[in-house]
Subunit: 360 residues, 2 copies
């Protein structure tokens, strides 16, 4: 069995505990927490499982890594603390572990990652013999392995379009919704998420990887964006009101240009209320949202993905598929040479041994 640590027990970490526990080749051997209040609590409780797992959370990172675990799922955030996340990850790689993580977008397409991200990891690989695979869902399998595989069913391929179409009205993340995305702000407010080069920083690596896998040369990566105001004031379930005339929807594209044409496109359409921008793509069947891959060409192939977990929660569902992709790669990585890997290296494989698996 592959001794596996889960580092971090937030929205991603609890899903990781469940995924490691469900995987027949992995053995959960430790859970690292940053919050002192969680120290000593059982992993089953932190993973919101219906049973205890007999693994108690610890904040003693030194001791956990000294035990030389074979794998680490790094589930702590990298968004608001990239330097700490990078330090944690390189520390785990240097201990010789295979590390999988959704943290640190630049390392998803590590070949084009800035040296300050890439070099410390490569050094840790050399020193400690560990590995790193960083990926997610969007960015992640929703705009790398899935569209690439679906393209194999096509005949002529004009455009590969990966969409996220989401209605945020049921979300409960007021800060990022109001300030990062700009919902409810005056129309002259510039949301950070739409500032030039930010979308490319987050999704450009996926465009480059898809181009590489399809054997095409990118002229450049372009960005387009659009915003729409609310016609009327709307009230959301947990985030209060969003006033008429303020931003109610955004739409942006990160475009991979091939011989002058946008051939590989990652598009986001985000609303704070379904009534805003009705002429833009909408979630299927009036739902909260979905990811979609469209292979434009002959045939036209449209694939819509909806994932839910923890009740009907789409955010948890998406995170869980990212965790599934990452945890599902551990046994492959353990067999491979130490190194820095990306989504094109690691095949998406069936859930061998997990259909109807009874959890002891």
């Amino acid at each position: 069995m592959i001794s596996t640590v889960v580092w971090g027990t937030g929205n991603v970490g609890r899903l990781a505990i469940r995924a490691v526990e469900a995987h027949p080749a992995l053995q959960l051997c430790a859970v690292i927490v940053h919050n002192p209040a969680k120290v000593g609590r059982d992993a089953g409780e932190l993973g919101e499982l219906d049973r205890l797992l007999g693994v108690e959370a610890t904040d003693d990172i030194e001791a956990v890594l000294a035990a030389r675990p074979r794998a680490v799922v790094y589930a702590a955030s990298g968004d608001v603390r990239p330097d700490e996340a990078l330090a944690d990850i390189t520390r785990a790689v240097r201990s010789g572990a295979v590390v999988v993580s959704p943290a640190l977008y630049p390392l998803y397409d590590h070949r084009n990652a800035p040296p300050e991200f890439r070099d410390p990891v490569l050094a840790a690989v050399t020193e400690g013999g560990g590995s790193l695979f960083a990926s997610g869902v969007d960015p992640g399998w929703g705009n790398d392995v899935l569209p690439l595989l679906l393209s194999g069913l096509g005949t002529t391929i004009d455009v590969i379009r990966c969409q996220e179409i989401f209605d945020y009205s049921t979300y409960d993340q007021p800060d990022s919704v109001r300030y990062l995305v700009g919902m409810g702000q005056p129309m002259d407010y510039e949301p950070m998420m739409l500032m030039p080069s930010i979308p490319t920083m987050v999704w450009g690596g996926q465009i480059r990887m898809m181009a590489r896998a399809l054997g095409v040369e990118l002229d450049e990566i372009r960005e387009t964006s659009d915003r729409r105001a609310l016609d009327t004031t709307v009230t959301t379930r947990t985030m209060g009101e969003f006033g008429a005339g303020t931003q109610g929807a955004i739409r942006f594209e990160v475009q991979g240009i091939v011989e002058g044409e946008p051939r590989i496109v990652i598009e986001h359409v985000t609303r704070i209320h379904p009534s805003c921008a009705p002429d833009w793509p909408v979630p299927p069947d009036g739902g909260d949202g979905a990811h979609r891959v469209v292979i434009e060409g002959r045939p036209r192939i449209e694939v819509t993905i909806e994932a839910t977990d923890e009740g009907e929660n789409r955010s948890a569902g998406g995170n869980a598929t990212a965790v599934g992709r990452l945890v599902g790669a551990i046994d492959w990585l353990v067999e491979a040479e130490p190194g820095l890997y990306d989504a094109l290296d690691i095949p998406l494989r069936p859930a061998i041994g997990r259909l109807g698996r009874k959890q002891s």
Copy 2:
């Protein structure tokens, strides 16, 4: 370039001509037709392309195979003429060609194919050094490689369910719709498609392959079926009226039983009018139909696939994805050892070299 023949130019054959023409590694070298009226016509015209290809259709099978083409896309029907199709296919395999075909369902899961299908092909492989890969869309990639790959994103997997949910009212195949499927028949009429063991004959191989890929043992394969009558008489676009009280919808499942539980399920829900059986699963967004994969478990992953070609035609779209899967396998098969292959052997790969490819 891999010299490639397209044998048959009906609904599947014209799609195959376009797929071979669009593939950078393949060279269309001959088109075999059975209908004397098609002899001499250009492949571009038969493939409904906007240009001539300089390859004239022939009915001289002997001459085409004597030229030792490297690959044959056998696109003639196997449904109503299985013996002839098997004879044609073994003849092509014996000529040393790699053969791909949607014909002959039993050969999709060749390990469990009846000897009368399997033995002649194996003999031809031994004698001539050719290969065969038979697959489709449903049965085919929609209930083998796609659900298996998607399962890799899961954590706990309770059921893998592959659905076809179609409204036949826009179809133009009155014979199969009225007699094979039973639409418009009195409720005591027994449609051939629902006769015990028929669904398993067509889809059982897919259940067995998925079980094999997931490492589970099947206790047995079961079938369930249900029919509903129309409340009112309905009129379809091309197939006339279907009377009130006659069959308006059917629903069946082919179930792979694992430790007493249905864990791998292929389900079809077919209507002649959207009003019939509203409580059964319905096509997304009120459309004509879709294929769907549902990974029941945590997370719950629902993936809906809609393919269209030749205008908004879903039947052509589905056929085109089957042809994409088959033609996309040729270069892999040419590199592999001669043999009889199934969908678990042959990876679904990206459309390398086809994004935005200009057709000369």
